[in-house]
Amino acid sequence: MADMITYREAVAEGLARELRRDSSVVCLGEDIGAAGGVFKTTSGLFAEFGKERVWDTPISEQAILGVAMGAAMTGMRPVAEIMFSDFFACCWDYLANEIPKMRYMTGGQVTVPLVVRTANGGGLGFGAQHSQAVENWTLAIPGLKIAAPSNPADVVGLMAAAIRSDDPVVFFEHKGLFASKGPAAPEGHVVELGKAAVAREGSDVSLVALAATVPMALAAADLLAADGISAEVIDLRCLVPLDMATVLASVGRTSRLVIVEENPFQGGWGGTVASIVADEGFELLDAPIRRVAAACVPLPFADALEQLVIPTVDGVVKAARTLVAY
């Protein structure tokens, strides 16, 4: 195995490992078979596992998630792909009303062990209906676990945990990270859901990030270090379970918190993190909590405009400097 792989290759690798170890794992989605997926994240799976394990579907997002749910309820471990996370709106009934509620409203009679994979996020100039970061949509619904890896090894490790989970997991793959490279995951690599990582240690300010905002926060930490500011970067990895213990411990070390989230400020996941820190970590803080999130407008097409709307390294640096100077 190569020492370094791309995030894109890691998606296929993570899926392949689980398809090999468990015959109940089956993939379905639009163009995921011989075509290898529109983002090539399922490249090679059809050749290795065949059409009984890797199923091409019509453009029918409701059927994709509904079929996955029915199969999950009856002994399979389906991994459904929704091509762009924006299309969650086309199958929202399954994500909001069916998948997360079935176990609860049947009094625990039914188990729904499925994974919904999707390409999430902006920065690629796809415009308002193909660029959104919608992890906050799923955070609004109790009953869904939510993973959003920031690097190739975590893609493989979280994928293993998600597929083996007996709970439904929404798995956000960030479009802006597909070409990024990182160390390959060792054999048998599993990253437990709900365990944040300290991506960089620091003592002056905590930058809490997820998926594409993790490399953004790390780049900001480099710039801050040049100013003599020591930033700690927390990679949440998951929104549910939400590892607030790691966040609160970090704030305990740094006394300042910047939350870096790509979803819009209005209703973004950072609001949940901030409210918990304000409630349970108020005495740890030496400055207000600052959220760096997307502006509350639809995502524009032009790069020059999109960069004004979604979070940037500069924005994170400015927020951190403000808090350190508070």
Binding site: S60, A63, G70, A72, M73, M105, G107, V110, S165, P241
Partner: protein, 335 residues
């Protein structure tokens, strides 16, 4: 209607008497649910299936015990036809801890997974893709099971119906789509909102799926049609659409009296009550009237005992408000 025959080629006398009793139990349970609602002992809402009994009982009689059934929020009859007891259904409606779903589902979500009754769904049409998924699973596991989605005529105008039919046909899934066409989409005649005469069956050819319109009030006809469709599905022949014509005896929900239905129409359908049709067939079979009366008496006793049992049952365990979100039994979402 043509002259009644015994239907003995499909259902023998003893079996038919048993199916009659099942229908009688469902009828009386629905009546009890109605009365308990009016007495304030059932909260929320109910969508009673009195009048639809033959669809559930006839279909169940044609299915294997390990086949899967998915129903709608008008689904009490399907839960009971698959083996849920009147007591556990009524207890669920009455918010009792002994209810089918520990009082966490209610009337619209009756589920008995251990009997293959994989839920009652309150978002119109949502469960058709789920049934397709269960059928896909059966195919992948080579189990020979079939899955059945029961739905109302109103569901034929929602996207999930069409997505499910297309995918099921393309993948040749062992799934049956059984429409209980009771002529009304809630309060609106289905013909006023649908461009074809048979809302389910007329759409099926567009997906390359065979379809049949049947008398959904005749338990023998239903069993026969479902049996044939299930055999086709098990042999790799893919899905079938069955449109079973039937009629609600109550309104759409709760205390809706169904005043929008012409009296003449109601009268005509009441004469085609599934219990009456089954009685006529039993008579042709030569089953003595006392046997039918005894079945009615057993049904009455079962339901009376169920009502008493549900009334006496304890309320839900407060702890259960916070269980069953996750597979570990709990609801923790953060550290």
């Amino acid at each position: 209607m043509t002259a009644v025959d015994s239907g003995a080629a499909v259902v023998g006398a003893d079996e038919l008497l048993g199916l009659y009793e099942q229908m009688a139990v469902i009828r009386r349970t629905e009546k009890a649910a109605h009365d308990l609602f009016l007495a304030g002992l059932v909260k929320g809402t109910t969508h009673l299936a009195a009048g639809h009994e033959a669809v559930a009982v006839g279909a169940s009689a044609a299915l294997r015990p390990d086949d899967y059934v998915f129903a709608t929020y008008r689904g009490h009859h399907h839960a009971m036809a698959r083996g849920a007891t009147p007591a556990e259904c009524l207890a669920e409606l009455m918010s009792k801890g002994t209810g089918l779903c520990k009082a966490k589902g209610g009337s619209m979500h009756l589920t008995k997974a251990s009997a293959g009754m994989l839920g009652s769904y309150a978002i119109v049409g949502a469960h058709l893709p789920l049934a397709a998924g269960a059928a896909w699973s059966a195919r992948l596991r080579g189990s020979g099971q079939v899955a059945v989605a029961f739905f109302g005529d109103g569901a034929t105008n929602i996207g999930a119906f069409h997505e499910a039919l297309n995918l099921s046909a393309v993948w040749a899934l062992p799934v049956l789509f059984i429409c209980e066409n009771n002529l009304y989409m809630e309060y609106t005649p289905i013909g006023e909102v649908t461009a074809v005469a048979n809302p389910a069956a007329d759409r099926a050819p567009g997906y390359g799926i065979p379809a049949e319109v049947i008398d959904g009030n005749d338990v023998v006809v239903v069993k026969d049609a479902v049996h044939r469709a299930a055999e086709l599905a098990r042999s790799g022949g893919g899905p079938t659409v069955i449109e079973a014509l039937t009629y609600r005896h109550f309104g759409h929900s709760r205390t809706d009296p169904g005043a929008y239905r012409p009296a003449e129409e109601v009268e005509r359908w009441m004469q085609r009550d599934p219990l009456e049709l089954a009685r006529a067939r039993l008579q042709v079979h030569g089953v003595p009237g006392e046997s039918v009366t005894a079945a009615d008496e057993r049904a009455a006793r079962i339901v009376a005992e169920a009502v008493a049992e549900a009334k006496a049952a304890p309320g839900p365990d407060p702890h259960d408000a916070f269980t069953d979100v996750w597979a570990d039994g709990g609801s923790a979402w953060r550290t």
